[in-house]
């Protein structure tokens, strides 16, 4: 079987602020036998515009996505919310397109399309996992990220209490309703700290930026690491914190 031709949709946030996550996706998917491409014309899915009420500003970004990612066997995004935006909302903005229908969140792609749960990773740390709302409720990734994490050698997985409660990010909600967002963040951080984990893992850098920003402000010492970076880590080339 020829290697699937995969388009990486890095998302604007990860491209700009968390390049180590996108590099991890490349490494991981190539290790799993994919032919990974990064179309340089990609920018943003328009989720922030759309969710804040700027539908007309989001529309051209959906069109651009359909054009940029035409012709791949699959498009993989290290984000449940951007993946959800593309698969669930872009058709409404632009009409149906193969590029939308073939877009997957990372854990979906690995488990459903590649049919793999043990990706040969090694990550000797105590980790707790926060299921982000859009991966959970919009895409329905279910326990796929957890199945992947359970197969990681050396990883001590701690169950997160009230895991399915929103962390309070919500895009522009975090600034428009900053007080409420902060209150939700406070409860999420308490749950994270109660697990005794060194690392909080999730499949969305947006939520991780929010929770991680809070954990950093409180000098808790808990790190936030994207799922892709844990799955990319091996004994030969273990994960190392970005300086």
């Amino acid at each position: 079987m020829p290697a699937p031709r995969v388009g990486l949709f890095a998302t604007c946030l990860t491209d700009t602020f968390f390049p180590s996550t996108a590099r991890a996706v490349v490494r991981l998917l190539e290790r799993l036998g994919c032919d990974v491409h990064f179309p340089m014309d990609q920018t943003c899915c328009g989720q922030m515009h759309y969710n804040t009420g700027y539908r007309d500003e989001a529309r051209p970004l959906a069109a651009k996505y359909a054009q940029v990612f035409a012709g791949f066997d699959a498009i993989v995004a290290p984000s449940g919310s951007c993946g959800g935006m593309v698969r669930e909302i872009h058709p409404e903005l632009h009409g149906t397109s193969d590029a939308f229908a073939r877009t997957y969140e990372l854990s979906e792609f690995i488990v459903d399309v590649l049919g793999v749960t043990d990706v040969g990773a090694y990550f000797p740390h105590r980790v707790t996992y926060h299921p982000t709302c859009h991966s959970l409720r919009m895409l329905g990734v279910g326990d796929k990220p957890l199945r992947l994490l359970r197969a990681v050698r050396g990883l001590d997985l701690a169950e997160l209490p009230e895991a399915e409660s929103c962390c309070g990010f919500g895009g522009t909600f975090a600034v428009k309703n900053a007080d409420t967002s902060t209150a939700m963040l406070g409860d999420k951080m308490r749950c994270v700290l109660n697990t005794g984990a060194e690392v909080l893992c999730a499949g969305d850098n947006s939520c991780l930026m929010h929770i991680g920003g809070g954990l950093s402000r409180l000098r808790t010492g808990v790190r936030t690491v994207h799922l892709a970076e844990i799955l990319a880590s091996t004994e030969e080339e273990p994960w190392a914190p970005t300086p």
């Binding site: 890095a10 604007c12 700009t16 990064f38 804040t52 500003e57 651009k64 709302c133 409420t180 950093s216």
Partner: protein
Amino acid sequence: MGTNPVTWLGSPVFPKAARAALADTQLRRNLRKATHTIRDKRSKAVAELPDWEELRQAGEAIKDDVLSNLDTYLERIEAAVTARGGVVHWARDAREANEIVLRLAREAGTDEVVKVKSMATAEIGLNEALEAGGIRAVETDLAELIVQLGHDRPSHILVPAIHRNRAEIREIFRREMAEKPASDEPRDLAEAARRHLRRKFLSARVAVSGANFGVADTGSIVVVESEGNGRMCLTLPEVLITVMGIEKLVPSWQDLEVFLQLLPRSSTAERMNPYTSVWTGVTPGDGPQQFHLVLLDNGRTDALADQVGRQALRCIRCSACLNVCPVYERTGGQAYGSVYPGPIGAILSPQLVNDMHDKQAASLPYASSLCGACYEVCPVRINIPEVLVHLRAEAVEAKGRTPESVGMAALSWIFADARRYENAQKVGSLARHLAPSGRISSLPWPGSKWTSARDVPAPPAESFRMWWRRNRG
């Protein structure tokens, strides 16, 4: 400003009201305890039914059918109620509905009416209107009684006094009741309410109720309750006046088999609520011998005209969406400035107000992180996040040109072209020099709204696309 009493005059916009609520630690403890209790119970009650998803789908489809043929079904229920000895009234808005009820109460020669808990009458401010007309309205539902005696406002659809704990309720009862409650045990508080209301029930001549469902085919009205105050009001007085939103219909008696399963498990998390009453017009020798049904519009037809927003009219007022909402759990219901709080309130109230220039109403669709927990539990599958985003677009349109809209347009222009985007990335990346520690703890407005509680990672020296070009390009 809108004049629909569904939102309370003078309420601040949601973020401001939320700030005040969040500062009340007692309120937050009360809400957390109550919402978490009911969440777990609801999950168990729903898990018992193997056909829950099928019931939700049927519920959605039946309500959509009602909305698509609302004129036909309203004419049908009108004919059926009239044929069974009831009188049907139509009200365009709150004021007209209040006038009808006031006139009927006066005609019955009473200066006091007993009331069954009803969202429709709370929405139209009936109690205040009756009071102004010299008629006392006595709330008989325990939570409504707590709100009324506490000179307070409701904060939940099902349990309007959810923001009060037992100790606070005891204090209100001690202040307002002739016979004080024996303790703050819920059992003793319920006993106090029973003694307080018993004489009123046994001597009331006029009752006012809402309706959970109206069956178009037969003219039957359904009220679902727990305490028996509903049965008291619906059975003992001579005159019964029911105010029902026009969307509360189901086409046939058979359709109730769906809703009598969906509603109790979603609202109080019971297999069945203690009491459900069904009556059709007037039954000689049993119950009120005069029955009036007031059909209320009050903005519902405006919502009906919105092809995305109309799904909010499927709502059966179970309040499951409030109980699972992470925003509601922190702010409570009063922050929404309406009798309809929580996720459903955030989409229903602005539609009933129907004026996105009303700043308070326009702030409600933003009172959500779009986490989707509400949609997941809704027994009639209202896609609340979808309607929230739809109403945000209306709010944006109403506001016209703002710093935000200019910024959004600029950002869209940058994202439209990968080169412009990359240049912006490079400029932004320079900010890392301001934050040698790798994190930024303070930004100017509007970024300050983020950094008030959260650090921002300093942008890296190299974006992913630069790395890709260097290594793979």
